[in-house]
């Protein structure tokens, strides 16, 4: 414990550590604020002039306008919303809402818009996946809305995973277990989740930068030659370095994630976190959770990912002879999931992105996207939903790479020449 305490003291005395941690916290709050700045709405004032609302004013305006839509998404409410939509467009002789006269959308459609989310998707063609326009949907069929959604996931999985009956079966089973009817509380949009992803990725980068020199800087400067000649200078020191880096990284991520969620949810309203994720993402999303639970799951997966990446970086650091080499290789593995997801074939990408330690919080390949996607890893007759694989891989990688880092450190020998 004394060595761990001194090692923590050493890490926390570094100016680089403080600068990076302060930057991470500042970015977390800034990123939570940024989605607010993209919000805008058009209102009409008492004189009949169109007024453009931005930021928190826009959020408040939309919440107020859509207050009646908030609550349980019962099939009859969806039916009423569709009927209202169709009646409105028919009355104005248009087939798309963007052709409505100025101000009509805000007045007639905006208040019911949250209930219309996912309706077109639920009625998508089972073969082509093409969604109809709301005008083409028979409102009478909406009395059986959730059965239609359950049928849609079956057809969707037949398209997405045609060669994996296990995945098709598993997805249908998962969706059946999702609590219905859904709930919606307007005011929040998916940018909140995207920016949480960016926040997690930035903290990941900062933590990797802090962890990368843990062993290699000592090798490079020769400081390690002295320390490893001491009584506790091998496994104990190696373990203390690993634990210190994991503690600092874990604490940094938790603080930043907490700061992000507190700021974002306070700005958009905590009640929005009760919205079912199916009412923000695909109506047939497999996870049984609301936005708040998704935020917490994403934060937990991000924490595991950061710890796994730091653990892996420490392993690299114990292997590399210079701090620059361990930093460069650590950062390469941070961006690897993003590159892989953009360039590798789908199956390979799914596997690699599930295994790479940085995946859960990487850009474009994170647990967030995996939760809202329909990918499964197929192994024989087994189909594993990729978020489970990602989280499971990180949970294994943290102790595995920590052990390998300590082992590599103990086996390191002074360089010749």
């Amino acid at each position: 414990m004394r060595i761990l305490h001194l090692e923590l003291k050493r890490v926390m005395k570094s100016r680089l550590t403080w600068v990076l941690l302060a930057l991470a916290l500042a970015f977390s709050i800034l990123l939570a604020w940024l989605p607010v700045t993209y919000c805008y709405s058009n209102d009409t004032d008492e004189a009949g002039n169109e007024v453009r609302l931005t930021g928190l004013a826009s959020v408040a305006y939309e919440k107020k306008r859509q207050a009646d839509a908030a609550g349980v998404v019962a099939p009859e409410r969806v039916r009423e919303a569709v009927e209202t939509y169709q009646a409105c467009l028919t009355a104005y002789g248009v087939t798309e809402s963007y052709n409505l006269p100025e101000g009509v959308y805000e007045r007639e459609i905006l208040p019911i818009a949250p209930l219309l989310h996912g309706v077109k998707e639920a009625f998508a063609d089972p073969d082509t996946g093409m969604a109809p326009s709301i005008m083409e949907i028979d409102p009478a069929r909406l009395d059986d809305y959730y059965s239609i959604c359950e049928a849609r996931i079956v057809s969707l999985m037949e398209t997405e995973q045609p060669d994996s009956p296990a995945a098709q079966h598993r997805a249908a089973e998962m969706y059946r277990q999702v609590e219905k009817p859904f709930e919606v509380y307007p005011g929040m949009n998916s940018a909140i989740m995207d920016y949480q992803n960016i926040m997690g990725f930035l903290v990941l980068l900062f933590c990797v930068v802090i962890a990368a020199p843990a062993f290699s800087a000592g090798y490079q400067s020769g400081a390690d030659d002295i320390l490893r000649c001491t009584r506790h200078g091998r496994a104990e020191l190696g373990s203390a370095k690993v634990l210190a880096a994991l503690l600092v990284s874990g604490a940094a991520f938790l603080i930043c994630a907490a700061a992000y969620l507190l700021t974002a949810n306070s700005l958009f309203g905590w009640e929005c976190t009760e919205t079912s994720i199916q009412m923000m993402y695909s109506i047939v999303t497999l996870a049984d959770m609301n936005i708040g639970e998704l935020q917490r799951l994403f934060a937990a997966a991000g924490l595991l990912s950061v710890l796994a990446s730091v653990s892996f970086t420490l392993f690299l650091s114990a292997k590399c002879r210079t701090a620059a080499a361990s930093l460069a290789s650590g950062l390469v593995f941070c961006i690897a999931p993003t590159v892989v997801s953009m360039t590798a074939p789908e199956t390979l990408s799914a596997w690699l992105c599930s295994i790479l330690p940085a995946s859960s919080t990487s850009i474009q390949a994170s647990v967030l996207y995996a939760v809202t996607d329909f990918q499964f890893l197929n192994l024989g007759g087994l189909a594993v939903w990729t978020p489970y694989a990602m989280i499971g891989a990180c949970a294994i990688e943290i102790p595995l790479f920590a052990f390998l880092a300590v082992r590599s450190y103990c086996r390191h020998t002074a360089p010749g020449g």
Binding site: R10, I226, L227, C229, R231, G416
Partner: protein, 296 residues
Amino acid sequence: MELLIDHVSKRFKDKTAVNDISLKLTPGVWGLLGANGAGKTTLMRMIAGIMPPSSGQVMYGGVPIQTLGEQYRNVLGYLPQEFGFYQEFTVQDYLAYAAALKGLPERRSREKIRELLERVSLLDVRGKKIARLSGGMKRRVGIAQALLNDPAVLILDEPTGGLDPGERVRFRNLLSEFAHGRIVLISTHIVPDVEYIAACHAIIRDGRLLATGTTEDLVGLAEGKVWNCTIPADAVPEYEDRFRIVGVRNECGGSVSIRYLADQPCNGSSAAAPRLEDLYLWLSPQGGEESEGREQ
């Protein structure tokens, strides 16, 4: 307790840095003499246990140091030739960190750190970051950390590099006091640094052990090979071609007195009392020239 270096060799890709060296180190101060590139640092690293030999082994008390592991490190103090510190540490923090790693209880470590800081004259700068200290001060911090655990085996690789003359004298005195009953091995290519404090010496060249023994024994090997002679100043280049000149002193009337090494003296020479440095140079025909690059 004795430290036995048993047929130790270290081979790198294209070079044998240490070639079959055997040496028994008993308590006392030992000087390991050799030119840069002779293999001193590689040998020291193997003795310190941070570099495994390609063949042979180092044993302490009859047990290989790899087998002893923590037990050996518990009695070891090591100062590498080139070493760094964590930039963020103050002198006090660094020594506290090293003391914890050496297993010193907290109270004992505080007392020991203060005592050593006094001994190496660093008490005034104990709160200063090591990065801001001069080279000599950093070296003294290194010496202090090596002594923290009162090691039974102290390995010091070029410990006096960067120390000014006064600091060298203080270091020698400190080491003389410390060395009783302990094995202290000091590597250097500066012979006077160990001549007066080391009772025994080992001289290596090109990775091989050339000679070993007490100062008197080794100096005896140079008996009859060290000469003094007075020659005209303009004859020095000619003598340099013929003999190994180890000292030149200007005399009155345009002549110089030279001290040189040779099996057979030239006319007019008189025998001189040999010193350890004479033997070292005698055994190093290349004149102790520094090999290219850093020592292996």
